[in-house]
Amino acid sequence: MIEDLKYIALIDKYLRGTLAPSEKDEVEELMHHNPDFAKEVRVYEKIYEGITKKEKAELKNRLRKYYKEYQENQETPTSDRPNGRYRRLFIYSGAIAACLIIGGAILLFNQYGPSTSNTEPTVVDVDTTSTMKTDSIFDLDEGKLVEENKLDNPDIDRVQDNDNLVNRENTDGLQKHDSVQNPNTESEVQLAIGGYKTLPSRAVRKYQSSRSLSYTFHDGVFKLYGRPLMGKLEALSLRILKNKESGYFLKYKNDYYDLEKTKRRLPLIKVDAKRNNKGVNTLFNRPIKSVPSQEEVTVNIVGVQNASTVLSELLVRFDNDNSGEQTYFFNKEERQLELIIQADLDLEKAMVYRVEEAGRYYYYLVQDSQIYALDEDAKDATPLVTVDITTNRLARLFITREPIKTVVYEER
């Protein structure tokens, strides 16, 4: 056994391939003429190999553990709750900041607007009143803006909550596919990667109509989940009631549902005479007589975005660089269905939905207010055709709905 650290250092460098040229000769020499040294090299070789194998196996085990933890983290949205709440706080504070800025701008406009726009020093009375009028319109607009901000943002928030399983990083990476080009890859690989952009997985969704209804109800906003197809008339017929004990109910198609103030989504449960909750008997003994109260409420029928989930079986690629006809086709692979679109799409806005109804799949491409119906059997390039919402019932899923402002009805 060689115990001289100098030799051990040489062997270490030899095994790691970091010998200097002069040292290389020395080691060659020793290997040939010093059997002890050669023996040592073999022992250390084994030691290094053993340590590497042992460490790799242990790291693999730990990685498996990290992966499990990662998956668990992805699956439990509860841990995200506070974040979601903070996010909402940020959005609200953003909305407030925006209001302040707009308010400030209006104030400035108020003060300096008339003087700069009107070079005449002598201002007649009529003129001043007219500027006042435009100002009041601005004020109105601002009010509306605040309202819209408040209504829209929690929606966006919801979508993200729904998408807990989808990872943004992941989709980011997918978009990068085309930039990953390896000159050594085989032709089949090149084909698989292609020159196309991939739609992020959060934008490829499936929707299956569900029977169960759920809701959130807080801060004067009632949101109904699970009926994205509900028409405007039907939505207008929804009525939120409050009985004498200050319990809230929802009246929907002659049925009554219990409501409680909740930010978390709760299932809508039909009022049951047997459960006898919240003075329900009064509802059942006679039709409830109610009058509009002062309490305002906004009814929001939550759209398909929030009712759908990510569809992983479909991969959507598209090519923006085309000036000709907008086309698409489906490419069925063994494990994956691909949808190839040649059209001017916005990676941030385009969404593809698979709607399941009566055991059949219907595909839609949606960007802003454009809705295209896609035929799954289109194997060759097929022109993209916008859908007629009056005839295609399912396409109505994708119409953006305005929230309805109404009031709570009080039991008389």
Partner: protein, 187 residues
């Protein structure tokens, strides 16, 4: 966590952050599944890629030229193509279930190698060695950490004294191992 944060966390010894990388597994999975592989293959290949990445980060060989996700995808792709080539060469009919074939390999190993494995033998020798030698050698040999970084992590005054310490540890480990024993171990 951004790429930058992840790198600095890993360098400061927070290995658990590697779990974050599984966020990029999806793209590797979909690519491998479209290229004659399955999810099991993807997980294996991706794990290997993480190990390569981690070793390169720790040894200072990793240069941040692209996003980590791109880097991992590149390595995974190369690894998978190599595996496919190897399979083609050996013309091994592939089991539909990756688990089964792995189990068989394991079985073949058990039959041909009855003695203890090299890694287990080293595992025992290393635990006899004790700290800080054990961690130091693992970090230096497996992860290939540079001596400057080892000096910092293990609190040595300089890279030189860390190197000296490593050699002393190697000597100590060697003294607990017999030549005949270790040479007899095949794998």
């Amino acid at each position: 966590m951004t790429d930058q944060e992840l790198l600095s966390q890993l360098k400061s010894g927070n290995e658990e952050c590697l779990g974050q990388l599984y966020a990029h597994l999806g793209m590797v999975k979909s690519w491998i599944c479209r290229n004659n592989g399955n999810e099991e293959d993807a997980l294996d290949v991706f794990q290997e890629a993480i190990i390569v990445f981690y070793k390169n980060v720790i040894s200072g060989k990793y240069e941040q030229r692209s996003k980590i996700s791109t880097y991992l995808f590149e390595i995974s792709k190369r690894q998978w193509l190599n595996q496919l080539n190897r399979r083609k060469r050996h013309e091994q009919p592939r089991e539909a279930n990756g688990f089964e074939s792995k189990f068989e390999e394991e079985l073949i190993y058990e039959v041909t190698h009855r003695g203890p494995r090299l890694k287990d033998y080293l595992g025992r020798a290393m635990s006899r060695l004790g700290e800080p030698c054990k961690s130091l050698l693992e970090t230096a040999i497996f992860l290939g950490m540079r001596m400057e970084d080892i000096a910092e992590r293990f609190n040595y005054s300089s890279a030189r004294s860390a190197s000296q310490q490593k050699l002393r540890c190697l000597k100590k480990l060697r003294s607990s191992i017999s030549y005949e024993d270790i040479i007899a171990l095949e794998q």
